[in-house]
């Protein structure tokens, strides 16, 4: 017993020393100093990556302070480009650079440590259809828990069970709310996971007007982020998954197809 405790103790000590010595070599950034990286690679949109700090717990700002003056490099395996800082903390590259199936690596140095993230551009959704594009919301569905029926069905090809999300975006300047459900979000994401069909219920719509139903083919890292919850008590706090080494946040590629919907209620 004695020997085992000692053994364990030395193991631990050794481990701690090893860990401490690593830190000196600046391979890792301590948790509070890790930069937050948010970048979505979407063909047809300019590449834009934001880098900012975390916030202190009592900070009332929406985002942490931006990190400027970085040199962000994006590589597709054969070609490496440098992003330009178009606004403070926002690094962009506007030329067409994205090809389906290619692996993109983002790298930069922050506090003498290498921060990197990698993602693959998934395929564009194929045969994306909706059974209806004109949806008239029945009255009386605005309640929080009413039993209602399917408003629309979206289908797409997904023979390989790839990850998808459906994003609903309202294009009105002042969306008109029709439900009595507090103040729900105007735009929302449905995690449809690996399926090839999604039925949306009337109840999901709280506003009328023009909506874009955008189907994104996404990577698992984005699904993981959507599913993650920090937890709300010291008994269940968990770390949020990230694909950014030495950092936090998300760097992921996706491709979209869009169907325009018109929502009314009369």
């Amino acid at each position: 017993m004695e020997i085992k405790i000692k053994h364990l103790f030395f193991c631990l000590l050794f481990g701690m020393l090893a860990f401490a010595s690593c830190q000196k070599n600046s391979a890792d950034i301590s948790i509070p100093n890790k930069p937050v990286v948010v970048g979505y690679l979407i063909p047809g949109q300019p590449i834009s990556v934001k880098v900012y700090q975390q916030k202190a717990l009592d900070d009332t700002a929406t985002y942490g302070a931006v990190i400027t003056g970085l040199s962000l490099k994006l590589s597709d395996g054969s070609q490496t480009v440098t992003l330009t800082e178009s606004a403070k903390g926002t690094y962009t590259y506007s030329d067409a650079f994205l090809t389906t199936g290619k692996t993109y690596t983002l790298q930069f140095t922050y506090q003498n440590a290498l921060v990197s993230a990698q993602t693959v551009l998934p395929a564009k959704p194929v045969n994306y259809t909706a059974t209806k594009t004109l949806i008239n919301l029945p009255t009386g569905t605005g309640s929080p828990n009413s039993v209602d029926s399917v408003a629309d069905t979206f289908r797409w090809n997904n023979p390989d069970s790839l990850y998808h999300v459906l994003v609903f975006k309202n294009d009105e300047t002042a969306p008109f709310q029709v439900s009595g459900r507090g103040t729900p979000l105007v735009n929302f994401t449905v995690n449809v996971n690996k399926t090839s069909e999604y039925q949306i219920y009337y109840r999901s719509f709280n506003y009328i007007g023009t909506y874009r139903a955008i189907l994104y083919g996404v990577n698992k890292e984005y699904i993981d982020l959507l599913n993650a919850q920090s937890g709300s008590s010291s008994q269940n706090l968990t770390n949020i998954p990230t694909n950014v080494n030495n950092g936090l946040g998300i760097f992921t590629a996706m491709q979209a197809d869009t169907i325009k919907l018109t929502l009314t209620q009369y």
């Binding site: 017993m1 085992k4 405790i5 364990l8 481990g15 860990f19 948790i31 509070p32 937050v36 979505y40 979407i42 975390q54 916030k55 717990l57 009592d58 900070d59 009332t60 700002a61 929406t62 942490g64 029945p138 009255t139 009386g140 569905t141 605005g142 309640s143 929080p144 828990n145 009413s146 209602d148 994003v167 609903f168 975006k169 709310q177 029709v178 439900s179 009595g180 459900r181 507090g182 735009n187 929302f188 994401t189 109840r203 999901s204 994104y216 599913n227 993650a228 919850q229 920090s230 937890g231 709300s232 008590s233 010291s234 008994q235 269940n236 706090l237 949020i240 936090l248 946040g249 996706m254």
Partner: protein, 920 residues
């Protein structure tokens, strides 16, 4: 039996056998007084003494001052005695030697006994306490067996010490009160029997007794106040307790002397001892030596109890009125027990009074507790007990605490209730009840059959009206959220205790235990929107059933004076269902597992000489879901260095096949349920214990020190996380993520117990220095402090006895529990343009809550009858007397982009009053 009595001074002495107290009772009842007394009380007693040949002991001076003027017309002597005692505010007490003591105060007994002893030694003729041997011894070196019972109730007394006077032949009674003594030197020897809370007694052997199985009855002591409530060792020069390692024993009778919140509580009392964490107010389950409550096997009369909590852990599931005694093994336990990694708590129910009908109960500010016991005929007895909580004055305070109560710290103020939004807050209504019944039938000395039934249920109704503030004028709703939880345990067992001759005992139990936990949550009502009314009915339903059908047979064979062999077999069939459905149709989780656990064990208790005790054992278990055989070697040993100084050690391997897991539910509270280990996700967990220690015991004090090291492998954390669903997101079906995390851990520590065992002041100091760490790949590659890791825990228990009052003060101090804290936050824009804020967190359990401490006080007043018997008590207690704010956990909510921290606290100052009464 009756011998000639010799008048001596003013006293009269009767040569006594063990039945002398009964003899005295008989005289008191049968003798008729027809006399006119007009004299001081002492003279009356002298007269009675001479006339009826009973022996009174009293202090002459004060008694002489009391005058009696009374004419008794053919009245029983006992009535006359009661009358004069009542008139003069006195009590009488019949000791087991038949002497009647006349007491002004309960504490006078000790002094009078000394007086009695002095008078005896001064007197020319000694009172004979024992029958003399009937003749010279005729038989030598033979074995005897018998049973030690309570004289008044016939209840067996397990753990009583039986020894042959002037020899080192001794033993302790087993769980059914039976004992065997080998190599008794001669048939004229005297047996000495002692047991906590009872008057020690002596019994002369004779031909009659040694032939069959003898019954040795003990009388309760007048006042159990000076007795140790919980003890590592019982009184006695040498006893088998020092042959056991890491054992705690408890008799519920004296529990009302300790402070309590709701009611005296069996499992909570163990929390005052070293090695059992005393800071988990929200759980009756025991955190033993860095283990979790589900690593503690709890059995009640042989069946496993899967839910040991009532009312958020505030009560334990066991009614003290139905419990005879409890033993907790903190580690290194015998191969007789298995299936858990850390500890075993064995609770044995009362058989019920075999001699007379009795009933009683307790009433506190939170619950009512009633019991009755009766002999049914010469051979059988029956006991029934019932408890129920009600919404008394303490209810809101306690329930509010455990449901939702926060104090906000940190910047920004902000209210509590993360995620609760604008739902109305109501105090849910909740209650528990439990019911115990036991029937015992003893057709002969050799066989006893008993049947036990236990049922305990918690009902929690958290239903409330749900009406959202509407921003649309055409909208109105009449909605109700039903949230109804019912959970509990039903168990029943049939037990057959048999004596197969003098050297072989068996104990066979067939049992069934069922754990159930259901939650029905949903929304019903109507909604009117723009003139259209819609009926609403949806929700989720959670269903968990564990069924455990077991058969177990334990045998004890006294193979020789140095060898005792324990062996047995067991088999359990477990069936666990867990269903989680939404809107009656969508099945989110549907698990149905079953498995059989069968095996056998054997253990040798070997005493090569009177100082050394070695106990090797082995346990073999076949577990059907994995199809493997698990071998658990065990070993414990004790060495009596001197009469006072013992060394002890234990080691062993332990397996666990069932785990209690948690479904995290941030909005509605976590739910616990049981699952079986399998081949894939949930490994069979195992532990190795290494324990060593010593104790030093004098007549008054006990010092006990033990160190332990425990390796834990194959630990599982299983959590189910739910996305979607719920009232705000009802349109989408919930998705469930099941996480299986497996890892390892270890725990080590040193426990110190310093106890003052006798006197008007008793108590103990318990100190534990401990460490418990775990490593789960999901949380990183390093060991992190386990949730239950506490470095220092100090408990100081003080009990002071003054006549009918007893006072207790317990102070518990523990360094803080670990917790995981947020270090910062960050916000990410998702592709739909919405913002999501996340927390960055410290290493798992890297932070510590502030130290936990509290002082509990209690005062208990005993209600004594005129014959000195206790018929009840009134207890006042103050929990957390100086109202220290102890943090349970912290909650984090994001408001106005800030992370607001709120502390969820344990109970503050809570007073309680308990009234206990019994008929006889």
């Amino acid at each position: 039996m009756k011998r000639l009595s010799v008048p001596l001074l003013l006293f009269l002495t009767i040569a006594c056998t063990h039945a002398q107290a009964q003899q005295t009772q008989k005289i008191l009842k049968k003798s008729i007084v027809d006399h006119f007394f007009s004299c001081p009380l002492d003279e009356m007693l002298d007269t009675l003494s001479l006339q009826y040949k009973v022996r009174f002991i009293f202090e002459r001076e004060p008694i002489h001052g009391m005058d009696v003027v009374e004419h008794f017309f053919n009245e029983p002597l006992i009535d006359a005695l009661k009358l004069v005692c009542k008139q003069n505010d006195l009590q009488y007490w019949i000791e087991n030697d038949g002497t009647i003591y006349i007491l002004q105060q309960p504490d006078d007994l000790d002094r009078l006994k000394q007086l009695n002893a002095m008078n005896k030694s001064l007197s020319a003729v000694k009172p004979k306490m024992l029958e003399p041997p009937k003749g010279p011894p005729t038989r030598f070196m033979f074995s005897i067996s018998g049973r030690v019972v309570d004289q008044n109730t016939g209840e067996a007394l397990p753990g009583a010490i039986v020894s042959v006077r002037n020899s080192d032949v001794n033993t302790a009674t087993n769980t059914s009160g039976n004992f065997t003594l080998l190599n008794v030197p001669a048939d004229t020897c005297v047996l000495e029997v002692s047991y906590m809370g009872y008057q020690p007694d002596k019994f002369r052997l004779d031909d009659e007794k040694i032939k069959g199985s003898m019954v040795l009855p003990l009388f309760p002591s007048m006042n159990a106040l000076n007795e140790v409530v919980i003890t590592d060792k019982k009184h006695g020069v040498i006893n088998t307790d020092s042959k056991k390692v890491s054992v705690l024993q408890l008799t519920p009778a004296a529990l009302d002397k300790l402070p309590n919140i709701g009611e005296r509580d069996i499992l909570r009392s163990f929390q005052l001892m070293p090695g059992v964490s005393g800071t988990n107010e929200s759980s009756s389950g025991a955190y033993v030596r860095g283990g979790t409550p589900d690593q503690n096997l709890v059995t009640f009369d042989g069946f496993t109890v899967y839910q040991v909590d009532h009312l958020y852990g505030f009560y334990s599931a066991f009614n003290p009125n139905a419990v005879r005694d409890v033993e907790m093994y903190k580690g290194g336990f015998s191969s007789k027990y298995g299936g858990r990694l850390s500890a075993v708590t064995e609770i044995r129910g009362k058989d019920g009074n075999k001699n007379e009908t009795n009933f009683g109960g307790d009433l506190s500010l939170l619950s009512i507790n009633l019991y009755g016991e009766t002999p049914l005929n010469k051979n059988s007895s029956f006991l029934v007990a019932f408890r129920r909580s009600y919404q008394g004055p303490l209810y809101d305070k306690i329930f509010g605490q455990f449901n939702k109560s926060t104090t906000t710290t940190g910047p920004g103020g902000g209210g509590p209730g993360g995620g609760r939004g604008f739902m109305n807050q109501t105090t849910p209504s909740s209650y528990f009840y439990d019911f115990n019944a036991k029937y015992t039938y003893s057709p002969s000395d050799k066989n006893t059959f008993s049947w036990t039934y236990y049922s305990g249920t918690d009902h929690l109704d958290n239903s409330r009206d749900l009406n959202f503030p509407s921003f649309v004028s055409s909208y109105s709703s009449d909605l109700k959220v039903n949230d109804y939880t019912k959970s509990g345990n039903i168990g029943t067992s049939g037990k057959w205790v048999s004596t197969w001759g003098k050297k072989l005992f068996s104990n066979t139990v067939i049992s069934y235990s069922q754990f159930n936990s259901d939650r029905d949550r949903g929304t019903t009502g109507t909604v009117t929107d723009s003139g259209t009314t819609t009926n609403i009915n949806n929700g989720t339903y959670e269903y968990n059933r564990l069924k455990d059908l077991s058969l177990k047979s334990d045998w004890e064979w006294q193979a020789g004076s140095k060898y005792k062999v324990l062996f047995g077999g067991y088999g359990s069939y477990l069936d666990i269902k867990y269903r989680y459905t939404q809107n009656d149709t969508t099945s989110l989780i549907n698990q149905h597992n079953n498995g059989a656990i069968t095996g056998g064990y054997t253990e040798l208790q070997y005493d090569p000489n009177s100082d050394l005790h070695i106990q090797p054992g082995i346990r073999e278990t076949y577990y059907s879901p994995t199809g493997k055989i698990y071998t658990e070697p065990r070993l414990s040993a004790t060495y009596h260095f001197t009469d006072r100084f013992n060394l002890k050690m234990a080691t062993g391997r332990f397996y666990q096949f069932t785990n209690r897991v948690t479904r995290e539910d941030i909005l509605n509270g976590d739910r616990n349920f049981w699952v079986l280990a399998d081949k894939n996700n949930m490994p069979v967990s195992s532990a190795n214990h290494y324990i060593a220690g010593f104790n030093y015991e004098t007549k008054d004090f006990l010092i006990d020190i033990e160190g332990y090291y425990k390796q834990l492998n194959g630990l599982t954390e299983y959590s189910i996380r739910q996305q979607g669903g719920g009232p705000f997101n009802a349109s989408t079906t919930s998705t469930i993520t099941e996480n299986y995390y497996t890892g390892n851990g270890w725990a080590k520590g040193i426990e110190v117990l310093l106890q003052k065992k006798v006197g008007v002041y008793t108590g103990w100091i318990a100190y534990t220095l401990a460490q418990s760490k775990s490593k789960f790949a999901a949380y990183g590659n390093d060991y992190f402090p386990s949730d239950q890791d506490v470095r220092n825990e100090f408990k100081w228990i003080n009990m002071y006895h003054l006549q009918r009052w007893s006072f207790a003060a317990t102070w518990i101090f523990s360094t803080g529990h670990p917790y995981t804290a947020p270090l910062g936050s960050y916000t990410i824009n998702t592709v739909d343009g919405n913002k999501v804020t996340y927390l960055t967190i410290s290493d798992k359990n890297a932070e510590r809550l502030p130290a936990y401490h509290r002082l509990d006080l209690s005062a208990t007043y005993d209600l004594l009858k005129v014959d000195g018997r206790k018929i009840g008590s009134i207890g006042f207690s103050l929990f957390n007397a100086y109202n220290h704010i102890n943090t349970w956990y912290k909650e984090y909510t994001i408001q106005n982009n800030q992370v607001v921290t709120s502390n969820v606290n344990y109970l503050g100052l809570t007073p309680n009053i308990t009234l206990s009464l019994r008929w006889k």
